[in-house]
């Protein structure tokens, strides 16, 4: 710990505040509407899928395609996760297996 306990608490408070602003904002903005506007309702139907797609890419944001190892460990590990999941459809196996493979890749072959 390089921060004092009070500073640590402040950081936790800020991260909590930032998170809750993003979670409460839509409900505060649209609180008074009796019925949701059709366009907002449409967004509610399609955004779940777009948002998870965004999230997958977000997780890979630090991967450099131009510098070695050119995202190879990530690509291999994601293929393993997808293959495991399509094969066994077991979430723990897919996440655990993919993560172990990724750790092996970045700690040995691509270290």
């Amino acid at each position: 710990m390089i921060l004092s306990p009070l500073e640590t608490l402040t950081i936790i408070g800020m991260v909590a505040l930032g998170t809750q602003i993003t979670r409460f904002l839509p409900f505060l903005l649209f609180a008074r509407r009796e019925r949701t506007h059709p366009f907002v309702a449409y967004l509610g139907r399609v955004l779940p899928y777009a948002a998870i797609g965004l999230l997958v890419v977000y997780c890979l944001k630090s991967v450099s395609l131009t510098a070695a190892p050119h995202g190879v460990p990530e690509a291999l590990a994601i293929l393993c996760v997808a293959a495991l999941h399509l094969w066994k459809n077991n979430t723990l196996l897919s996440i655990g297996g993919g993560t172990v493979i990724y750790m092996l890749l970045v700690q040995t072959i691509f270290a």
Binding site: I2, I11, T22, V46, P48, A51, L54, S94
Partner: protein
Amino acid sequence: MAVRSKALKAAFPHTIPVLTGFLFLGIAYGIIMSTKGYGIIWTFLMSLIVYAGSAQYVAITYLTSAFNPIQALLLTLIVNARHVFYGLSMLDKYRDAGRFKPYFIFGLTDETFSIVCSTEPPAGVDRTWFQFFVTLLDHVYWVTGSVIGALLGSAVSFNTRGLDFALTALFVVIFIGQWKSQRQHAPALIGVIGTAACLLLFGPDRFIIPAMALILMILGLFRQRIDGEVF
């Protein structure tokens, strides 16, 4: 009481994927926190109060560098901006949640959202109690996982490099599950391609807001073509 136990029994099976994912991610988080010198109390507080996996992983940077609360707040807003999408999706489903509504919104993580947006409670099960138990169970899994990780972290030591890939793997799994459940793949593809394009264009530090804007714009422009086929 019968209403509650019925809702709990209906909710639990839906949360099993999150149970496994959160235990794994939580343990990884607890271990990383302890390697940075933050013990069980801090990890527990963080997971209980913040309850946002990716923001907590990012916040480790702010706990281990010079004190900068404003930057921590701003980066959290950017990292978690995607939650605005979840809120928009849940406006109707949480409309009648009554006294639970603040807790539902507080607990609207990626994973809880992925359940509540796609799951209807079985017939005869109270919707609000069902949503309550999904939210509560996920919260408990996350706190429990990170506390276990904090305990393990001080007991064992191993090379944790790459452990945070668990988060990526979880979203890939959710993505595949959603893909299989839908015939219309345009929204998922717009999410992936739009975000990847903005990442290449704007770089890793400032692509989220443009990506969200681009996704909203494309979804808006092609609304008729997409919405006609979704369900």
